[in-house]
Symmetry: C2
Subunit: 239 residues, 2 copies
DNA sequence: TGCACATTTATTGTATACAATTTAGATTGT
DNA sequence: ACAATCTAAATTGTATACAATAAATGTGCA
């Protein structure tokens, strides 16, 4: 799914030597972003290693890199799990995004080219297509990719890396706390942003991105978590 | 050097299981922050492992964690080196700090307690003492610690982690590009910040932190690089 | 039945051995 | 003397084996 350019940027995110380790990072990262891996899922070293035909040494390095990015939690002597961001962490992450991404959008508006605009438009189109196909996971993945691509265009490596990490974690938060059925609300903001970019309107880009993120934040139902453990009992009892 | 509380926060920074791996991270981290390890120094796995009596497996994990934080660069089939931030990276890092830290200072001013103020004052005092003793490395370390402690007090884990990483990398930048002989310029800002904190003046704290960071940024001579090499064993053994 | 404790099992933590790759030095030819 | 090439040493990449730890199971007793 992620094209070659994304892979290079993701390599920066994970900071692991290229090769199998990076491959595994990318695969798990993608699975989490597309919501194929639920928060809390255990990632056993043996299991992952068997799936990708790699030894535990390599898998371990990948899991540690993912832990550093905040997508995975490693508990001593217990293993690695897909992270389950707390409500508090969720607030912090979206507040951080609201601080950083508007600034990045401002920079992007200044330096964006026609070619970059096409790239972003392609993301939007692909997202619409995915929504039309009913592939929610892919749509969400592409929605995040839109944001990371903006950071790439701004060509600010330090901020881009922070943004990438925050967006990946946001994907977990959305998996846990999203309440609205429609993701269509985003489309409008993304389009407005495109317009500001096309006109190189830095102020507008910054403002739009800021309110877009505040919208996203408020669209979360950051109140309670559903527990999967109890449900097992309920399910078996009724059966 | 780092007290127990710092160690807990640093554990969050590196995201490695506690134990030898974390120890090695902390030792190398400290050596870099105190400028005992120069940018570009090679960190051979065997050599580091021998110094700390750990196997390469553990050392590798530590080096990868440090690479993730941006303090170390790993080149495929070549090994790990203390990072040498480029001029461009240096600009980006200080711009990122100027974006994030003022916001953090604002939060800190709101929630700071008497005890926290004492903690910060202790940092300032220790820094003066180190300067008086002529221990430049320690003084710089403590100057950074002042900033990270502010982030800890704000009690924003997500932002605090970013700040910690940025400050650690700043230490490398200062090692490479610092031109002024006096670090005294900082003392004034730190004192002004303390006053704002004591009065819970959020606006002032934000402003002071912002101009403080701009000062630091402009105090760098981001033009050329010098290089030097020392024996790993001599530098790390004392830590 | 319920609880405490011992045992078994499974999984991670660590060390070590081997393979792949790079680097440095020596050798050779011009 | 200089350059190119090849060989050997050193270093990293990877796999695997063993040790340590935590969870799960089973047992005995009140």
């Amino acid at each position: 799914m992620p094209d070659r350019k994304d892979a290079r940027h993701l390599h920066d995110l994970f900071q692991v030597p290229p090769g199998r380790t990076l491959d595994i990072c990318l695969k798990i990262h993608g699975a989490i972003l597309e919501h194929r891996l639920a928060p809390g899922t255990k990632l056993s070293e043996d299991e992952v290693g068997e799936i990708y035909g790699a030894s535990r040494t390599v898998v371990r390095a990948a899991l540690q890199a993912l832990a550093h990015t905040g997508l995975v939690t490693i508990e001593k002597n217990r293993g690695a799990f897909v992270a389950k961001p707390s409500i508090r962490e969720a607030h912090e992450i979206f507040e951080a995004r609201a601080l950083i991404e508007p600034r990045v959008a401002r920079m992007t508006a200044k330096s964006i080219t026609e070619k970059d605009l096409d790239r972003l438009q392609a993301h939007i189109d692909a997202e619409h297509q995915a929504l039309h196909d009913g592939d929610m996971g892919k749509a969400l993945f592409l929605s995040g990719a839109f944001h990371t691509t903006i950071a790439d265009i701004a060509d600010q490596q330090v901020l881009a890396r922070m943004v990438r990490s925050l967006i990946s974690r946001s994907s977990l938060i959305i998996a846990m706390y999203w309440q609205r059925a429609d993701t269509a609300c985003e489309s409008h903001s993304h389009h407005a942003l495109m317009k500001a970019f096309a006109e190189h309107d830095s102020d507008a880009a910054e403002d739009i991105q800021k309110s877009h993120l505040i919208d996203l934040h408020s669209g979360l139902n950051l109140v309670e978590v559903r527990q999967q453990h109890d449900s097992l009992k309920d399910i078996l009892r009724t059966g």
